[in-house]
Structures are given as structure tokens and as C-alpha cells.
Symmetry: C2
Subunit: 309 residues, 2 copies
DNA sequence: TCCTTATTTTGTCCAAGACATATGAAAACG
DNA sequence: CGTTTTCATATGTCTTGGACAAAATAAGGA
């Protein structure tokens, strides 16, 4: 059977088959082929068996396109812009501000590959701010500005990997250090298949635990049917799902709606994350959380409602 | 654009379109269609536009098939068995021996969904044994026996997710609690694209740090080209890659050989993990680590060689 | 300004064929 | 007899071009 090719074989030539491009850009194979047919981009060269081989510049342009489309641009309007024009569209999208100094100093340490001091700076920020402010201010800020840096090519893939690992270390350390369950609802926390971003999930878990809720964290990519089965097993009151911007808003809302139909009425369904901040309305019985404040309000509301009974 | 249908319309009929089945079973749309063409299963009914609508029983049988195929069965041989026969095949995979009592008691807590006591049992084991023994005995044992339980169908998907999350919490907590760099080599630790298993990587990181080496952990799935670029940036002495049994031995050895050609002679390449325990020999200049003891010997050897200079 | 209704855009699904690679069995070797 | 090599089969992924529904936009009307 054909598998994702060993990218090492052509690492220097930077050739990607359609499966690798799907994985790296999040654009489906069908979409890639239909864009080629309709718009003439991307137009990859072929190997000896007429299979598509995408170049690294194509891949970069596709990533920019994906980003702009997520932001609201239409594919047909921008697909024939040059990579430079797309990059300019992105940078012109938001007024170019620089990150606040406390964020900038941490990012500088990452860019200088100073692992030790990077780790220490994160730990110090956590100690100084406490878990709640650390998550909602420092980590959220770092995510945003590191995303910006990645878009403009100022940060390497391996730097981002290192960042993700260290944030996970810190957040999980804080999570396990917290005392046992609190007074709040039992919240099952996970993401649906295809959603691989772990940091958002850990941030939510940290906030929930800091607020005294009991969290059952299943990590990323739990199939819907297994979420359904886990709800009675762990006797949870709320199922919370996280959707990063890597997933389309439509897919996120559809997943939430499907889950809603599978769970008993007594179990609440909450959804949040980058894919949903601009969503208008969700299926009935699904609560959208567009910020960490929304999350805290939702917790408080749950407590009020369940004390009354 | 077509999306996952609002299943609330047909919630009781439990109909899934091909995208939902792909998401929940991990079988690609192409695979589902070609199975239907070749083997006659699954044979979903169609909606008014001739699009496939899979039933819940089909979905359940597909998940059993996926499980058995992962374990080594061939699709063509088992695809026309009934769901009951498949379930029996799975349960007949019972382990020959039972786990030692200290492992069994922890697994029992997981099977009873007792999150609090499960967490506490892990923490207690860590305290009692120290990081090194905890990793090489308890965590290694848990991985093995939970794998067995998964194969025989005695453990749910969500239980395994919860296990993975908690082990990560504990290991990362231990990792960050360690004092800064030690005397040993700087080791870059990661896995190649396609290798998603994080726990093995974290176990290695814990052992390295306990032994006083400085670890640059990049998490899973770092493209080879990015590993190459990270080596000078972080000035590492050793690149260590982890390969779980989910990857074939051939693929693991090929990846190591490829990396070896891309790195300068002065940087060592180490490989380990389930895929390589039975490997005979690797490419020249690649060190195979078949056990945690091998890892510790390799560290000691490096230190001896680099003190002499 | 808001709601309803056309029109265009855009992503997903389909079919059937082709083919490379994983797997397992048979053959040749040490 | 154990080990590697060779071959055949099984199996998953890629191909093309057509079709069409849902989303997004534009146009019309209260």
C-alpha cells in the first residue's frame, strides 16, 4: 500500500505528495485537485507515474491561502496573488503592533535558542502571575505572537516544537500540583478527530482546575462515539470541546451539533477555541465560549443553576 | 460546500456520511469505497443523491475491523466475518500471563474510572520508586499491560486517552522539577513524521534528565529537514529518535540512515523504541538502543570519550 | 435596516481504473 | 535447520472528470 512518502528521500529537493500537503496545510486532497482544475493553482509537477509533486514554495503559498480563507477571504479572489502579495495581505490585516515587552522578552529567548533561560522565564511568569493570569495573559499572548512570527517566517519549525513542549511541561506541572476535585461541575475535556492542538486544551484545563472544577481530560482527537461512552463512565456534567483555527467553523459547529444529539439532555455541551470566536450561533443546547471569561461565566452559571435544585 | 449533515434530523436512524465514518474509524474515504467495491462490505444505503449513508452497526463493525487489522489480521480474511465473530476474535486475544499486582492494582483503578485514586496511585508509585525506577518499571509495565488489555478489548478508547494524559502530566511534572542541565551530552529528542507516540519520548526524556544529560525535546513528528536545522541552532551532541511498534522496523532504520547522512560526523545518532528492539544492525554511525540500560550505557560511553579529549 | 430570494462560488462525493508497496509464501542459500 | 532472496498476491492511495448541495454573495422588496 502506498503511504506518506519518506520525506527524507527528497528532503533537499523539497517535494511533497498530495497526502503530505493535505497533512501540512489542512486542505483536503479533493480541494487541492479541484483548485488545480479550476484556478490553475497549485500546478505541481508530476513524478514518473503522473502523481503530483508539490514544491516547498507551493506549500508555503497554500498555507497563506488557508489562513486568509479562514479569515474570510474567498479562494477565487486571492488564489492567483503572489506569495508576497498574500503575505502583505496578512500583515496588513492587523495593524502591525509589537508584542508587549514581557511577551517579547520571552519570545526573544526562544529565537535565541536559549533553552534554559526560556524555561526559567516561563516559570518565573507563572510564579509571579499565578496560574489563571499566566494562562489567560502570558500563554495566550505567546500563542498569538508566536503565530504571527511563524506567519512572517521569523520562527523555525523546531522552535515552535520546542515552545509547545515547554508550555505543555509548565501547564501540566501546574495542573497536577492543584489539589483534588473542587465544588464545580465535572467537565470532560477533549477535541474531535482531526483537531491536534493540545495547548488550547491544556489552557482550558488549567483554568477549570484553578476555578475549582473537576476535569476529566482525554487529550486530543477522541471519536464522538467514545465521548458518548465516556460520559456515563465518568459521570460528567459537562462536555467541553476545543477547536483551534486549524479547523473550519462549519466543521466545528457540525461536530458540536452531532455530539448534542448523542448525549442526554442533562449533560451540557460547551465549545470554544479559535475556530468559534467569530461564530454567531450554535445548535440548540450547545454553549459557545468565545473567551476565557465566557468559560468562567459558564461555570458560575452552572453552579447557580445546580445549587437551586 | 457540503458538510457533515445535521444528524439531529436522523438521530434515531443513526446515519453517518462517509466523512463522519472516516473521522470516527480512521479509515480513509478511498479505503471505504474500495472495500465496498472489492469485498462488498460495508454496503451502505444511499440518500436521494446516491451518497453513502452508513448505519451504526456498520460503524461498529468497521471499528472492530480496524482494531484487528492494527493487530496484524488481513482485511480480506476477516471482513466478511460477523460482528460477533470479530468480537470473539478480539476477546480470544487474552494475555497469557497476568500483570504483577502493583501494575494490576493501578490498571484496576483506571478500569473503574476512579480518576482521583488513579492519579494518586501513580504519584505514590513515583514517590516510592524515584523517577528512574518509576519510568523503567511502572510506566513500562503499564504501557505493556494496557496495550494487552486494549488488544483484548477490555479497555475503552477513552480509558486509554485518560491514561495517556495522566502519564504525561506525571512525567512532565517530574521533568520540569529536575534541576537545570547536568554534565552529560546535549541530546535532541524527537520522532519522525508519522510517529505520534509521545509517552515513549517522555520516558526517555525523564531517564536522560535523571542521568544528568541536557535534553532538547521537540515532541513528536519533526520533519527530518527541521531536525537537521535544529542541530546547529541548539548545538546538540546527540540526536535521539524514538520509534514505537506502530512503525515498521524497516521504516525506522531508513529514517535513521537518512538522518545520519544529513548530520555532521561529530553529532551522534541514536535510535530506540519498540520498532527497533529486534533490529540486528543499523546503518554505520547509528547507535541502536534496545533498552533503557542501553541508553544509560550510551550516555556513560559518551562521557568517557569526551572527557579524554 | 432588515428579511427574502436569486445567483455564484466552492468544497465534497462519485465511479472505475491504475499502480506501488506491504505482506506472506515459496525458493534458494549458508 | 535457520536465514535471506524472490515472487505473487493483497491492499491502500492516486488518478480523471463530472455532478451537485451548501455557503456566501448579490439583488430585490417590505
Amino acid at each position: 500500500m502506498k503511504t506518506i512518502p519518506d520525506s527524507s528521500i527528497d528532503a533537499h529537493a523539497a517535494c511533497y505528495n498530495i497526502a503530505a500537503v493535505e497533512r501540512d496545510t489542512g486542505l483536503s486532497k479533493d480541494t487541492l485537485r479541484v483548485w488545480e482544475r479550476r484556478y490553475g493553482f497549485p500546478k505541481p509537477r508530476r513524478d514518473q507515474h503522473d502523481e503530483r509533486l508539490y514544491s516547498l514554495p507551493d506549500l508555503e503559498k497554500l498555507r497563506l491561502l488557508r489562513l486568509l480563507i479562514d479569515y474570510g477571504h474567498r479562494p477565487g479572489k486571492i488564489i492567483n496573488c503572489s506569495t508576497a502579495e498574500l503575505a502583505q495581505l496578512i500583515s496588513s490585516r492587523a495593524p502591525i503592533k509589537s508584542p508587549p515587552p514581557e511577551i517579547a522578552s520571552i519570545i526573544d529567548l526562544l529565537l535565541q535558542h536559549d533553552v534554559e533561560n526560556f524555561r526559567n522565564a516561563l516559570l518565573q511568569a507563572l510564579m509571579k502571575q499565578g496560574l489563571l493570569r499566566f494562562v489567560t495573559e502570558t500563554v495566550a499572548g505567546l500563542n498569538h505572537w508566536i503565530g504571527e512570527a511563524w506567519l512572517s517566517g521569523r520562527i523555525a519549525v523546531f522552535d515552535e516544537h520546542l515552545y509547545s513542549e515547554h508550555i505543555q511541561n509548565i501547564l501540566r506541572n501546574a495542573i497536577i500540583a492543584q489539589p483534588g476535585r473542587g465544588s464545580g461541575p465535572r467537565v470532560l475535556l477533549t477535541s474531535l478527530p482531526g483537531e491536534k492542538h493540545r495547548i488550547g486544551l491544556l489552557m482550558v484545563e488549567a483554568v477549570l482546575i484553578a476555578e475549582g472544577a473537576a476535569c476529566v481530560a482525554l487529550g486530543t482527537e477522541t471519536p464522538i462515539i467514545d465521548i458518548k461512552n465516556a460520559v456515563p463512565a465518568y459521570r460528567v456534567d459537562v462536555v467541553a470541546l476545543s477547536f483551534s483555527s486549524a479547523i473550519t467553523q462549519t466543521a466545528a459547529l457540525a461536530g458540536l451539533a452531532e455530539l448534542r444529539t448523542l448525549l442526554p439532555e442533562t449533560v451540557e455541551v460547551w465549545g470554544g477555541g479559535g475556530a468559534l470566536v467569530r461564530a454567531r450561533k450554535a445548535a440548540p443546547g450547545v454553549l459557545l465560549l468565545r473567551s476565557f471569561d465566557d468559560l468562567r461565566y459558564a461555570l458560575e452559571r452552572w453552579r447557580v443553576e445546580h445549587v437551586a435544585h
